[in-house]
């Protein structure tokens, strides 16, 4: 089978199995993303326009976390416990094709939620955005990166409960301790340095650069780091699928 034909078939498989859950994923995505945007307003009583702009331009990044880094690992761990996982690998399709189809679905699945979150956040805080074409590569790369890292996590960690705890922790870290909706200058040096290595901050930087002028700096470095994380996630997934047993 050619790559294109098997990719098309696996894509149909992925879409068919996602069909039932897609509404729930979108529900969770909106809940967490819209929820945390509105929540920040309750935590910060007298919001300055600058802080509001940060929250709104950080909203799409928060909306990316639940799909790639939470629902994808959960889906894979469910496939493992339901034994669908082994069945998938037994199909007469090259394994990278299966991975490519999963990545495509999860990268695309995040998009509608991102738009809705951004619209609601903009209305809630009355912020004027300066959207540039840069937003397209930014969102696609950030989404692909979170799906790749999610896939790496899901393939690399076999224990479902550990994976569940880890993704719970990820949601928490993303919402509460990441320079996504708040400036990195508010963070203590060690945490800021840690975030300059981790991907969440860089996702926020590239997306913020596509939505505003002057709020994000050093965008090139952020693209580079996101690219490296994408490759890293895929490398882990590739190593796992290359192994037997």
């Amino acid at each position: 089978m050619t790559f294109v034909r098997s990719y098309g078939l696996m894509l149909r498989w992925e879409l068919a199995s996602a069909r039932v859950w897609l509404p729930f994923w979108l529900g969770l995505q909106l809940l967490l993303a819209v929820g945390s945007c509105i929540m920040y307003g309750f935590f910060i009583p007298n919001l300055t326009p600058a802080a509001a702009a940060f929250i709104v331009t950080g909203a799409p990044t928060i909306a990316l976390v639940p799909i790639g880094l939470v629902m994808l690992p959960f889906q894979v761990s469910l496939q493992r416990t339901r034994r669908t996982f082994d069945f998938l690998w037994s199909l007469p399709v090259a394994r990278p094709v299966t991975v490519a189809a999963t990545l495509t679905v999860f990268t695309a699945a995040a998009m509608p939620g991102i738009v809705v979150t951004l619209v609601i956040a903009t209305l809630r805080y009355g912020v004027r955005l300066a959207v540039s074409p840069q937003i397209v590569p930014a969102v696609v790369l950030a989404s692909l990166m979170s799906a790749s890292v999610g896939l790496g996590l899901a393939y690399g960690i076999r224990n479902g409960l550990v994976l569940g705890l880890l993704t719970n922790l990820l949601i928490f870290v993303a919402m509460m301790f990441s320079p996504i909706a708040m400036p990195i200058a508010n963070f203590p040096t060690w945490l800021a340095d840690l975030h300059r290595i981790l991907p969440l901050y860089h996702m926020a930087v590239v997306i913020r650069a596509g939505l505003s002028t002057g709020l994000a700096t050093d965008v090139g470095a952020s693209y580079l780091i996101l690219g490296l994380w994408t490759i890293g996630g895929l490398a882990v997934a590739g190593w796992v699928i290359g192994r037997r047993g």
């Binding site: 859950w21 729930f24 529900g27 969770l28 809940l31 967490l32 929820g35 945390s36 509105i38 929540m39 920040y40 309750f42 935590f43 910060i44 009583p45 802080a51 959960f74 469910l78 416990t81 339901r82 479902g160 409960l161 550990v162 569940g164 705890l165 719970n168 922790l169 949601i171 928490f172 509460m176 301790f177 708040m182 400036p183 200058a185 508010n186 963070f187």
Partner: protein, 267 residues
């Protein structure tokens, strides 16, 4: 005979009646061992996550706004985070653990064990309480250290902690046992967790919420759970503790009943 020796060690041996306080107590102890043994690898992780989460939320306050956060806000937050510590295992991780068992087809095996459902729920409650208290203490220590808060701890903290933990655990048990589809219960508890942290007056004062949300919170247990703990941790006035007690007890009882019903249901 070998069979008799083996059977005599089990709480549900044929020689014992399957009712009465003695049977309940031995079932409780067995289920407690069962839960601890099943989660032996995960409980240490849960306790560590508890410590990180509790201390983290307290410290997070200073990340949201540059400079020192206002004193009143910090004190309110510090007395509210222990609520999160006490419900986290029972309400958020518990249903996900049951979801995992359902997906792995091991749920029914646990359900058919011949022990009273109340003993099984009570044992799970003991586990969640034991996993929640270290996190709560960690949170309070970090808050006292980071913001120099002097907590005025009253002896009533003991019943308050027991009550807050029981409500979180029973709500979680009702969801875990009541919702058949793992994905839905998993998303549901994430939603509840998000709601409690962001849309109830657990971590910030009630006047920041819009009126309609304030009204909803009066009938939900979370505001009352935090009121109970706050009253035993701070010297500040807390309104109508009797009502809070009543609401929390009512939710605990209703959810315990729902969980027990769902555990005994067929099909």
């Amino acid at each position: 005979m070998a069979l008799d020796v083996g059977a005599a060690r089990l709480p549900w041996s044929f020689s014992m009646p399957r009712s009465g306080a003695g049977y309940w107590w031995s079932s409780f102890r067995t289920m407690l061992r069962w839960d601890v043994a099943s989660l032996r690898l995960d409980l240490p992780i849960v306790v560590i996550i508890q410590l990180i989460a509790g201390a983290g939320i307290v410290v997070m306050m200073s990340l949201l706004v540059p400079g020192d956060p206002p004193r009143a806000a910090v004190e309110y937050l510090a007395a509210g985070v222990p609520v999160v510590n006490l419900y986290l295992l029972g309400l958020v991780f518990g249903p996900q653990w049951i979801a995992e068992q359902r997906a792995a087809d091991s749920y029914d095996a646990t359900r058919v064990l011949p022990c009273p459902r109340s003993a099984s729920l009570a044992a799970w409650y003991a586990v969640t309480l034991a996993a929640g208290v270290p996190g709560m203490l960690g949170t309070l220590v970090v808050a006292a250290w980071r913001y120099h808060i002097d907590f005025t701890v009253s002896p009533m903290i003991l019943p308050a902690v027991l009550l807050v933990a029981v409500s979180g655990t029973m709500i979680g048990a009702a969801i875990g046992h009541g919702v058949g589809e793992p994905m839905i219960s998993r998303i549901g508890v994430q939603a509840i967790n998000m709601f409690v942290v962001g849309f109830t007056p657990t971590l910030f004062p009630v006047d920041r919420l819009p009126d309609w949300l304030q009204a909803i919170n009066v009938v939900l247990p979370f505001e009352h759970m935090s009121a109970l703990l706050r009253a035993t941790l701070t010297a500040g006035p807390v309104d109508d503790l009797g009502l809070s007690c009543l609401v929390v007890v009512a939710w605990s009882a209703a959810c315990a009943g729902l969980a027990a019903w769902a555990m005994g249901r067929r099909g």
